[in-house]
Symmetry: C2
Subunit: 352 residues, 2 copies
Amino acid sequence: MDNKTKNRPLTPPPDGGRPTLKTIAFMTGLGITTVSRALKDAPDIGAETKERVRLVAKQIGYQPNRAGVRLRTGKTNVISLVLTLEEEIMGITSPMVVGITEILAGTPYHLVVTPYSAVKDAMAPIRYILDTGAADGVIISRTEPHDPRVALLTERGLPFVTHGRTEMGIVHPYHDFDNERFAYEAVRKLVARGRRKLVLLEPPPHLTFYSHMRAGFERGLRDFQADAVGFHQTNIDHSLVEIRDAFEVLMRSEDAPDGIVSGSGSGAIALIAGLEMAKKKLSEDCDMVSKSPSDFLRWLRPEVMTMYEDIRVAGRELAKAVIGHIDGQPPETLQSLSQPEFQPPITRGLRA
Amino acid sequence: MDNKTKNRPLTPPPDGGRPTLKTIAFMTGLGITTVSRALKDAPDIGAETKERVRLVAKQIGYQPNRAGVRLRTGKTNVISLVLTLEEEIMGITSPMVVGITEILAGTPYHLVVTPYSAVKDAMAPIRYILDTGAADGVIISRTEPHDPRVALLTERGLPFVTHGRTEMGIVHPYHDFDNERFAYEAVRKLVARGRRKLVLLEPPPHLTFYSHMRAGFERGLRDFQADAVGFHQTNIDHSLVEIRDAFEVLMRSEDAPDGIVSGSGSGAIALIAGLEMAKKKLSEDCDMVSKSPSDFLRWLRPEVMTMYEDIRVAGRELAKAVIGHIDGQPPETLQSLSQPEFQPPITRGLRA
DNA sequence: CATCGCGACTGTATCGTTACAGATTTGAAG
DNA sequence: CTTCAAATCTGTAACGATACAGTCGCGATG
């Protein structure tokens, strides 16, 4: 027996560590290459051999070394979630991460959170990922109509998905909440309640869903014959105190609205505070419809009509879409829009 | 010039890809090994050489290939945040992730989120990380007094930090919120308001901070001479509806408390709902102190006195502690306890 | 003048995996 | 009795980095 056959490890691998291809090769008496190809179900390996290899691999709990694979193939098995550190008060990230990991759990992918701080640095993490090949796919949010991140990722061919749409003529995977419809239905609801002077707490103008929400709001005004009260001093990215103070001023003016559409759950809190500081009462002087990513409004302010934006589901959709993109599915099949629906009130207890 | 010197790449590396040690070696005319050691500031490399290498490396934006390092050295540069998928309603994860990444941003570490689903599977992600060497350090939460994860990680020598303490005689890094003091101060506050029949919405009994919070509560009762009303039907892990219904029953009974200590912000919501369903009024019939990881209670129910648990800071502390542990600092220097403080009310606007 | 030590640098092997180009066997075709 | 193709299996090199064991030149030492 010549010991030139380096590929066939006659030395038992220095056990104690985790099993590698070499371990399996030793146990089956096969070459490392054969084992590798057998586990990949390559066509040039005998059926029985594959079976044997699979069995042994399973028995000893073989799991490919990620560093080895990554070094050789460039495949990282990483999905990168790119986030801004300037967090929304109610922490939209939480359910998002949960949703994503729910999907990734059934795959070899890991979720890496990649943050950026200043708004102007939004490109930094993207460049980092591209330059270092840190991930196989990227999830980005706070999408803008002409988003340079989308342009760059597309140009470099790195799979990604956006939370929110763009308007740059690039067909790419996305998941979005139908903010146009949200605002439209909100107006319908308020008008049905007899409200006619409506105000919108809008998203920051540079984000894509700003125009969606505005469009829905204005279409609603036209269709249901209501009037808009201007309120562009603040948006949902401002601090709650700023929103509150600006809204108090508005509510004290003669232009005071009688119906509110709030583009965010935490913004709604500030609006309520401003309204109450102006000595107005919710439900009486004013009705409100708010988007809400969680339950607290329904519990604490049941007068507010809420449409639930399920961020956890969004996370799931986003994860499925990036993976689809990585797997080469056409982008146009990886787009989804979640439809807003009014939430029922919290069920009252059944006891006497 | 002999071309045996494989280590000195005379062929310009097939550029187009990212720079590697080989690229720098080619540019400086040095060997790959020398470049590697120069960048590590090894003592056997000349000062001027180091300078040159560093300069070139910086110029071309060299960043070590993580897969290469990881394969060779086993160092992953990954911190794993182990989370349960069964999320608390208010999403504590969000600020936590933000806090952690704030610290990791200044280091070579990446944050990987590793979830587990069923409570019984809490060990699964730990075993996975240990078996596959997936991380250099681990952050775990929902700590129990005798936590098998802590035992296993300690035994295997993988650096970690817990959010919460244990009681197993193992000295390990942790960060915790002082729940004992929280409950104690809460009782003090309620008694100062003339409340004497107090109830505690407690954590689930298997978690360590259950006994902390209970201890503080009971010490407060003794020191300030108040009485406890039993309420063990539900805890902060139960659904809001369950908490509400159980609390309604209690509030309708002749045992109805006049002071509430709520161990969680979202639990507080349910308690308020239950109380109101029992036709009682906050502030009048009953006062409440609640722990709160966010601002919404202060905005929507300013009557509730809150102590803020800054999860973002917790994330920062946890990240610092794992890294310290990885760097070999003694565990006893990596323990921290954050002190609760009552939050001031939201500042009222300044305008007329 | 050999030898030693030291400073500065370098080649080789290796981590685990896979692409690629063989190698070996078997049986059928000529 | 070649020759060839198909079916299986295998060795080598490479991905990028580092541990280790050198090598080389040079001034000091005996």
